[in-house]
Amino acid sequence: MKRTLLNASVGAALLAGTMFSAIASAADTIKVGVLHSLSGTMAISETTLKDTMLMLIEEQNKKGGLLGKKLEPVVVDPASNWPLFAEKARELIEKNKVDAVFGCWTSVSRKSVLPVFEELNSLLFYPVQYEGEESSKNVFYTGAAPNQQAIPAVDYLMNEIGVKRWVLAGTDYVYPRTTNKILEAYLKAKGVAEKDIMINYTPFGHSDWQSIVSDIKKFGSAGKKTAVVSTINGDANVPFYKELGNQGISAQDIPVVAFSVGEEELSGIDTKPLVGHLAAWNYFMSVDAQENDAFIEAWQKFIKSEDRVTNDPMEAHYIGFNMWVEAVKKAGTTDPAAVQEAIVGVAVPNLTGGLSAMMPNHHVTKPVLIGEIQDDGQFDVVWKTSGLVAGDAWSDYLEGSKDIISDWRAPLSCGNYNVKTANCSGQNF
């Protein structure tokens, strides 16, 4: 025991040494910060994104780096602890002098680091779908805004499946609450009556779904086609789908469309009871495109396993990283202010066979895909938007947000501009 402790501390000292020497050679490399939790509850999802970043950086270096310099990843572990995200972000920018940071998973972690990035004027690329209602000069939202995921999914159910009654089920925290508020307003604007919408919230990690599923069953037996729009988060999904299966509700009777269930989440569970249920994302591993095949091959080689899957936030990092690379080339420097200006309008290939562009509101354009879960844990694409959808920072369906636009180009340079009062109110946290 003592010996291993000793070895470990020697190892740590060596590691610290190499880190110091790395800092010493800072002038010859461009540093990229990776801010993903490698321990704690979020480690399940975020570790994969850290590996994705390491792979992208390695590949870029093989292509000769950037501006004649090598890229160097700086990985820190915020340990699923929201205040620690802010501390680690500050450490990356002030101590390690990184030029851009790729990271965060939950909205809480993003809100926690946002003031740091604005204060130190650095760049953050955020790769996960979120509830919108935010646009910062220093953040680039490469995940989906509600109009790039939730709204098209509802359109699909309404127009293609003919759904008339809606269950909005979510975990009780900010993303589901805001998304459901937007969806409720949207459905009402489309003429859905109050009594045809059922909203339900459950605590984190909820495992006893009997009465909720039974309520959904009753709600769905009123003779009108019913669907569940699920913003249920994480672990709670498995018992939910199991209970649906046990109570005999198949995807043909009451389809469930989820916004937080992807390939990575499905790889840990028995998918038989889930077949036919839906998910809306901007990317699926099963998409047939050359870029995707190449990406999957590179990923499985990098991670040394043929069983590892790819998912939507990974594609978001792929897009975000390539956009940053292109913007740096365009600006000829890694200076955050110059890159911020250069990146708007930059278009790079996404993994579904098209191009994604950075919009002036710091969101990107992406196609929206609806997939059905298969028994092998993959999704079959059953529907796709006809073109690309531009991310909308401020929802058009919410009171108080529909008059607000975001445009970071001069002369407006504002993330929160009210077109009615012609007033820029700055960032609200």
Binding site: P203, S211, A222, P239, G245, D293, I296, G353
Partner: protein, 535 residues
């Protein structure tokens, strides 16, 4: 920007046009499978209908193959193939010539993508074939799938078949179908008679048809008749709703009891505040996972064998904890709490390192999934029913051990008066270890049950530790009956509150209720009486 996306769109269209070609070796089949392969979903639905018109012999096999993804297209040779998984590759056989095409990687073959609508279409197609099946169950399923979307023209069709049908159940379903179709009949008398005929059925199709008639029928008499039946049915539905909620409550309660019953022994009888109790449950759940991995072909047997296995694993770990840590800390509750909390973290991290930080899949055996349909509005899921029975069985067994065996006698003696018990020749330290092992083993058994209901992961235990303490404290420390009745009543109260407060608030209200209750009766529902209560 617009031009660029147009160009991409054009590029996409041309590439997909090149890709579309399927070789079946028969010109009549080619366009059908091509449509199924690359067509839009409307084209695919048409193609399925076309497929039914072809002279392919075993259509059912092909339809099932498309749904179950055993029929695919080899991207390179464009051949339609049957695939069979072999390791990380697929073994392919030509679907039409039966020729063996060897192995290829997963991404080199592509499925016929289908959606839910097509899945329903296929099951409808298969069930029409099943109407003539020799198996009564299949005929019943076929009729029921027709009833899901009733149409007036079904009446004639079903009437024709009614005389030929021999099975009673199928006959009843057909009669209901006829009555349901008659609800849409032009003749008022026929409609009125049909309302009488369906009045006893609570099937959703019937209820929505009646509700519709009660509002929209052209004839006043019919409207009134429908309204009357609707009101009666609502009464019944509400009654069955209460029964259902009661069942849900009992099943939630039995989960609580299972999780708490091991703690009722270690905390209740021995007075050890064991924060690692949740992790002992987790170990039981992981034992189930490992057993299923060891025998992947017999999921059910693995589950049954997991019960003793989990008891032994958690029991041995429990005895280990007692011998190595807890026995030095008797009478020092604060230190015990901290030490066992530390153990719980160690056990969690051990599972993360040894097995995986991610949740592991534990599958349900056939006989645990599905439900018993009591009537159209009340059904009871098998897994919940088994959990309730299992909980009662565990409780009975534990009760028997404590009341009727020598170990039980010794346990009670030591917990009531340690010094006196020792004076009577009981080796109290051995009894302590055995008691703690028993409580821990029962926690492991609870883990087997929980693995069937929830996620099996390193955090499983933490989700149940608070609930377990809650139940034991509420029921009365040191009383097994208290744990049973306390757990069951908390479950039922929770479920009855859930519909009108929501799941989040229900849980909070239950906690508040317990806090108030403990203020009033600090020793719980069933306080220990007599001298034992002093300790």
């Amino acid at each position: 920007m617009l031009i660029r996306s147009l160009i991409i769109l054009l590029l996409l269209m041309t590439t997909s046009a090149q890709a579309a070609k399927v070789e079946t070796g028969n010109d009549a089949y080619n366009p059908i499978f091509e449509a199924l392969y690359t067509g839009s979903f409307t084209e695919k639905e048409q193609a399925l209908k076309d497929l039914m018109q072809t002279d392919i012999e075993d259509k059912k096999k092909f339809l099932n193959g498309i749904v179950n993804k055993t029929l695919m297209v080899h991207k390179k040779s464009k051949k339609v193939v049957w695939v069979e998984k072999q390791g990380s590759k697929f073994k392919m056989t030509d679907a039409f010539s039966g020729e063996d095409l060897g192995l290829d990687k997963k991404r080199k073959v592509k499925k016929f993508a289908i959606n839910n609508k097509m899945r329903s279409q296929v099951s409808a197609l298969i069930s029409t074939m099943d109407l003539d099946s020799d198996d009564a169950e299949k005929r019943l399923a076929a009729i029921n799938s027709m009833l899901a979307n009733p149409a007036p023209e079904y009446a004639g069709f079903l009437k024709q078949r009614l005389d030929k049908e021999s099975n009673n159940k199928v006959k009843q379903a057909m009669q209901l179908g006829i009555a349901l179709a008659d609800l849409g009949h032009e003749d008022t008398e026929v409609r009125l008679a049909a309302i009488d005929n369906v009045a006893d059925s609570l099937a959703p199709a019937v209820r929505s048809a009646l509700a519709n008639m009660a509002e929209n029928d052209t004839d006043k008499q019919v409207r009134e008749a429908a309204q009357k039946v609707v009101l009666e049915q609502e009464e019944q539905v509400r009654f069955f709703g209460y029964i259902e909620t009661l069942f849900f409550g009992l099943s939630l309660g039995s989960v609580l009891v299972l999780a708490a019953i091991g703690l009722a022994i270690t905390f209740g009888v021995m007075g050890v505040i064991n924060m690692a109790h949740g992790e002992l449950i987790m170990l039981g759940a992981y034992t189930t996972y490992l057993m299923q991995q060891a025998m992947p072909d017999s999921v059910g047997l693995a589950l049954v064998l997991s019960i003793p296995a989990a008891f032994i694993v958690s029991g041995v770990v429990g005895i280990g904890i007692e011998r190595s840590v807890i026995r030095f800390l008797y009478g020092r509750p604060l230190e015990t709490l901290l030490a066992t909390f530390g153990i719980s973290l160690i056990l969690q991290q051990m599972v993360r390192t040894v097995i995986s930080p991610q949740n592991v899949p534990v599958s349900n055996p056939e006989w645990m999934s599905g439900f018993i349909q009591i009537n159209s509005v009340l059904s009871i899921t098998y897994n919940r029913m088994y959990i309730i029975l299992f909980c009662l069985a565990v409780f009975a067994l534990l009760f028997f051990i404590l009341k009727k065996t020598r170990l039980g006698l010794e346990v009670r003696a030591v917990s009531q008066n340690r010094a006196m018990a020792r004076a009577m020749g009981i080796r109290s330290s051995r009894v302590d270890a055995m008691t703690f092992g028993l409580g821990s083993g029962i926690a492991g058994v609870a883990g087997v049950a929980l693995s069937q209901l929830t996620n099996v992961g390193p955090n499983l235990g933490q989700a149940y530790i608070v609930d377990s303490f809650m139940v034991v404290v509420f029921g009365g420390v040191g009383n097994l009956w208290g744990t049973l009745i306390g757990g069951m009543s908390l479950g039922v109260v929770n479920k009855f509150m859930e519909p009108w407060t929501g799941a989040v608030l229900a849980k909070i209200l239950v906690l508040v209720f317990i806090i108030l209750f403990i203020q009033k009766r600090p020793r719980g529902l069933f306080p220990q009486k007599g001298r034992a209560a002093e300790g």
